[in-house]
Amino acid sequence: MLTNEEIREIESEAATYPRRDAACIDALKTVQRRRGWVSDQSVRDIAGLLGMSPEDVDGVATFYNLIFRRPVGRHVILLCDSVSCWVMGYEEIRDRLSEVLGVGLGQTTADNRFTLLPIVCLGCCDRAPAMMVGKDLHTNLDRESIARVLEGYR
């Protein structure tokens, strides 16, 4: 079930478009902002609210890199693996992150603190290698700074 607050937010987005179903992505983001990810039930709830089939909503949800259809940890790490970061040392950063966290790409730590995901170019290539943790951008990464950066996220 969507909360009243979620419904209000989705309705206010839907009202700005000529068609309700245009608010599909906004609705997915609204739900994910509060719950961290989008469950099958949420897909059905959004479909009902916007007058779409659950299959269509799921088709949209599974298309976008940053809509999560599985649970994620408290903090999502997005590690850029595109060309400039690759040239500047992405592989070393990836290996160091796996060492420190004890998980590989696509996995969540046992304590649910971090999920480690690859992401395409973050658009700060002159400060490569880079990653995001939640909304925060971390640049000019090296092996030594990884543990310190992660400490800031409980």
Binding site: T16, Y17, P18, R19, D21, A22, A23, C24, I25, D26, L28, K29, G59, V60, F63, Y64, N65, L66, I67, L78, D81, S82, V83, S84, W86, V87, M88, I119, V120, C121, L122, G123, C124, C125, D126, R127, A128, M132, K135, L137
Partner: protein, 427 residues
Amino acid sequence: MTIDAKPLTEKMRADGLPVELQEYERAGGYQAVRKMLREMEPRQVTQMVKDANLRGRGGAGFPTGTKWSFVALGSEVPNPTYLICNADEMEPGTFKDRLLMERDPHEVLEGMICAAFAIEADIAYVFVRAEYSDAADRVEQAIAEAGAAGYLGKNILDSPFSLEIRVHRSAGRYMCGDETGLLNALEGKRANPRMKPPFPTTAGLFGKPTVVNNVETLCCVSHIVKNGAEWFRNLSRTKDGGTKLYGISGKVKRPGLWELPMGTTGREILEEHAGGMRDGVKFRGLIPGGASTEFIVDKDLDLPMDFSGLAPAGSRLGTGTMILLDDKTCPVGMVRNLTAFFARESCGWCTPCWSGLQWAERILTAMEDGRGEDGDVEQLGQLAKWWAPGNTFCALAPGAAEPLESGLRHFRADFDAHVSEKRCPWK
């Protein structure tokens, strides 16, 4: 004579905070909007932008005034007409639109107001990639400031022109940067491309006339309106008007972004601004900007970097943010990384793209792992041919062909060595 001016970046603050409304106005901001609403008609604005030789800075370089002129004007046109600022910057190696939005969001908005006036748009969107949350916040803040000051909303500065600008934050996919992919994303769908024609200027967002312009393109517009077409042309060293944000990433001494006259050479940007290669590595090549452009090599570095200047080298400007290949980095690995990006971001709509890119990625990965076979290089060349423009629904696969085909052309010996030696010589 080239005027030495940096209109796009000169207002930016050293502390990295966005230029606030009062600062922006004090430095001459929104004077273009005042002048335009007082003295000009929409068609005049479009003509001025045409005369300025402004070409799109999102990668395709289409003449901006020409695109605007495709939008029908007048009271019989089905409304609303939409203007969309394409802020979905995800082309690998590209980081210029982030700077413009984070550091001078009013410049983006003022350009949008002028563009919207020229095409008689009623509603405008800033379509921001999901990861640029600070940029989206700052643009939203600037919209609130501009609205409060009367530059947005109904009857702007007591003129008949009204405009609302909304920010849409994406959910993450490279195809949202494609013009019609963006329209589908804004309509709440998967960002597959649409058939063209009809072009968005005829039938775009929700079937209505729509212009999609890049952030940097729009940032040029208020300066053209304020200072004139001739002034804008004179900023450039060549016939493509204006300045350009050029960038360099990779193993140079000073990676960064610089506003320079359009047509500056690669060598000048590399040596004078980026400080040349780092100690211990040598230049082997670069991709002009970003991932979906062709490698050029040292002999090409004296060509002017404008929209046609790199053609003799078999390349093109694209976004103008360059990615350097040094001699300690494996070219096959670099091409593999680029191909993997395109493969992952393919929307899956058409076979040569989704199937072909995965195939190419598998071959390149095998080569890097020492499992390359005779015929692999030929197969890669064939795949690049299959991605020619017109064989696929959009420009993603043709873009992927550019670094692959040019990589094979310039670094063939390295590809062959991976196969014959059954290893990556750089590992």
